[in-house]
């Protein structure tokens, strides 16, 4: 049976992991390769690297990072963060990234999704969608790291991205991110119903039950989180055992 995936997300800047990752027995928590290997050993199903570098060297450092990670890691990983140009996507895939995630660039130029899917195959094109809820607007898509409203409906944009050829959607609720109150079950559920491609839920994970809920109630295909894994608040093996007991299929 296809299992639900647990995906730790690592923020990287200038080729180093940031956001104070605390891991016992890890000498250099800023080393993305060592950290990735540690997560793979603990049972992570995939990893996402989100690059927040904002310098001219961004592309070179990111390609070098991808190569270093791919050389060591024997599970799949996705790279995202400010990626737009076709040449950048090609360089990342050729150097060993399994998937590339687009966000603002896809909103700005939706045809980019079609072009990349045609060229490299849908299976490696992820569209990341940052959504925020307000009573007036409902669930709206935000761009530029979640700072700027686009006026677009989140479910409609997810449907369009999938129709254009995205092989997977990474849906983050900005309204839930960092709250540890649980995933946005309503919008995640609505997106999962609206598209036939896999959906990764992100934003709000604080307890193991939150993952059970997002898999069982919202029907998400994968759950992504950062700090709760980095700070050891939830161990990946513990989480998977909890999920299996709750009847959620997971790889242990």
């Amino acid at each position: 049976m296809l299992t639900k995936r647990i995906i730790p997300c690592l923020d990287v800047k200038d080729g180093r992991t940031v956001k104070g990752v605390r891991f016992e027995g890890l000498r250099d928590a800023g080393d993305p390769v060592a950290l990735a290997a540690q997560y793979a050993r603990q049972g992570a199903d995939e990893l996402v690297f989100l690059d927040i570098t904002a310098t001219n060297q961004k592309r070179q450092t990111l390609v070098a990072l991808v190569r270093d990670v791919a050389r060591e890691l024997d599970i799949p990983f996705t790279v995202g963060g400010g990626i737009g140009a076709v040449a950048d996507v090609e360089a990342l895939l050729l150097n060993g990234a399994d998937k590339v995630s687009l966000n603002s660039a896809a909103l700005h130029t939706p045809e980019l999704i079609d072009e990349l899917a045609r060229r490299f195959g849908s299976q490696c094109i992820v569209v990341a969608v940052d959504a925020r809820h307000t009573p007036e607007t409902g669930w709206q898509v935000y761009t530029r790291a979640g700072t700027q409203a686009t006026g677009r409906d989140a479910v409609a944009w997810c449907r369009e991205a999938a129709e254009r050829g995205a092989g997977e959607l990474l849906l983050t609720s900005m309204s839930h991110d960092g709250t540890k109150d649980g995933f946005a079950l309503d919008v995640t559920g609505a997106v999962c119903q609206a598209v036939t491609v896999p959906v990764i839920a992100s934003g709000g994970a604080g307890r193991m039950e939150h993952f059970t809920d997002v898999f069982q109630q919202a029907k998400a295909d994968a759950g992504l989180a950062a700090s709760i894994f980095h700070f050891g608040e939830i161990g990946i093996l513990d989480l998977k055992q909890h999920l299996r007991q709750a009847g959620v299929p997971v790889r242990i």
Binding site: M1, L2, T3, K4, R5, A40, D45, R67, A70, R71, E72, D74, I75, P76, L93, L94, N95, G96, D98, R118, F120, G121, S122, Q123, C124, G167, E168, Q193, V195, T196, V197, P198, V199, K219, D221, A222, R251
Partner: protein, 195 residues
């Protein structure tokens, strides 16, 4: 041991080279027919779309060469599908080494397409799966599949059974990504290198 990884612009070949490197094996990425013919082992990875992959293989004359190879051969993902007769993807004629026709998964609310993630293997046969257990997990990413037949040496289910691995004489092929399937995938690659 001379290991050739076929280069036909078929996507993520770097991951396969790295996986071999982790096993201490230096492989050569090549599209040179002579090199491929005399290699001890041949790996045929692939990602992307069947019609453009076949166009590239034809342009390099590899569509003629590959069916004549006699050394142990391992197709991976699209590299497995291309061994069949015909694919629904782009209505494409394939290499014709194995008798299957490649079909597209029909999505339903419980089964998204692509079939993406870790799924289990059943009914394992041949030394390729030496040391593995039924229900071991491997990583899949695909929208098209080969049905089960007498050539099937491992089955997956999504929800109906499909060929997770196939074999005909020296030609072995897996639908999943051995290079991305953790220790289980590593063992399969090792087994292939020992064939």
């Amino acid at each position: 041991m001379d290991i050739a990884v076929i280069d036909y612009k078929g996507g993520n070949v770097q991951s396969v080279l790295f996986a071999l490197e982790r096993l201490g094996v230096q492989a050569t990425l090549t599209s040179d027919p002579e090199h491929i013919r005399r290699a001890d082992k041949v790996l045929f990875p692939g990602e992307g779309e069947a019609a453009s992959a076949m166009r590239e293989l034809r342009a390099q004359g590899l569509d003629q060469l590959l069916p004549t190879l006699t050394q142990p051969f391992l197709g991976i993902c699209l590299g497995m599908q291309l061994l069949g007769q015909h694919s629904e993807e782009g209505d494409t004629e394939l290499l014709g080494i194995l008798p299957f026709a490649v079909k597209r998964f029909a999505p339903d609310p419980e089964h998204k397409v692509p079939h993406m993630g870790w799924n289990t293997l059943q009914q394992l046969r041949t030394p390729l799966f030496e040391g593995l257990r039924e229900e071991d997990y491997v990583y899949f990413v695909h929208s098209y599949y080969a049905p089960v037949g007498e050539y099937t040496i491992a089955q997956g289910a999504y929800p109906a059974p499909f060929s997770a691995a196939v074999q005909h004489q020296n030609f072995y092929a897996v639908q999943f990504h051995t290079e991305k399937s953790g220790p289980v995938g590593t063992r399969i690659l090792q087994n292939f290198l020992s064939l």
